[in-house]
Subunit: 113 residues, 2 copies
């Protein structure tokens, strides 16, 4: 089992802000997963990877594809108190899920550096 | 309810790596919280903040103080496949908990930028 968090890198969020948004996505997507998938993922050490996309449209498409595929997924919008406009889409969490189910959706995406 | 994730900024982790470690800490600390606290925090929109400390020793002390105070807490060690030595302590999640219970431990810490 693996979890993928995809970040809208058009925003170039600062480190701390990015980390908080990714953590939101991770917790929210986890809560959408079936109990047995949650258990397996925790037992395996919660593997997760943070990947990038380049536009908000790309992120929305990815989220729609994940939910259409029946994968646990979360879309995170910033409350906009600080850096961003309210409602800005910052990232999406997909999984935990089987790597084979994530691959068609996120296999081409690169790591956030 | 609020969750705090404290990062060992001596490591100056790159953005994606930092985000993944903070997400580990957020999920792990969440799972240590009592069910009613989990529910309240989720209902309130999972408020979380990413703060910095300057040494591993400081992070270990903070984690020990949090567990001694009976707060849900997680200490994250990197598996060390990539950037870090195996077992390097990267961050700690504390909470969800009442802000008044977090304040004595983390009130002086600054935000990660």
């Amino acid at each position: 089992m693996k979890q993928v968090i995809v970040v809208n890198e058009a925003l170039r969020l600062p480190r701390g802000k990015l980390a908080a948004q990714v953590a939101h996505a991770a917790v929210a997507a986890y809560l959408h997963a079936p109990r047995d998938v949650q258990r397996r993922w925790l037992k395996e050490g919660m593997p997760k990877v943070v990947l990038r996309c380049e536009t908000e449209a790309e992120l929305l498409d990815l989220y729609a594809a994940a939910t259409a595929a029946g994968l646990p997924a979360s879309l995170i919008r910033d409350a906009g108190h600080t850096v961003l406009e309210p409602g800005t889409v910052t990232c999406a969490g997909i999984g935990p899920a089987a790597p084979a189910d994530l691959e068609p959706l996120t296999g081409v995406l690169r790591l956030v550096r």
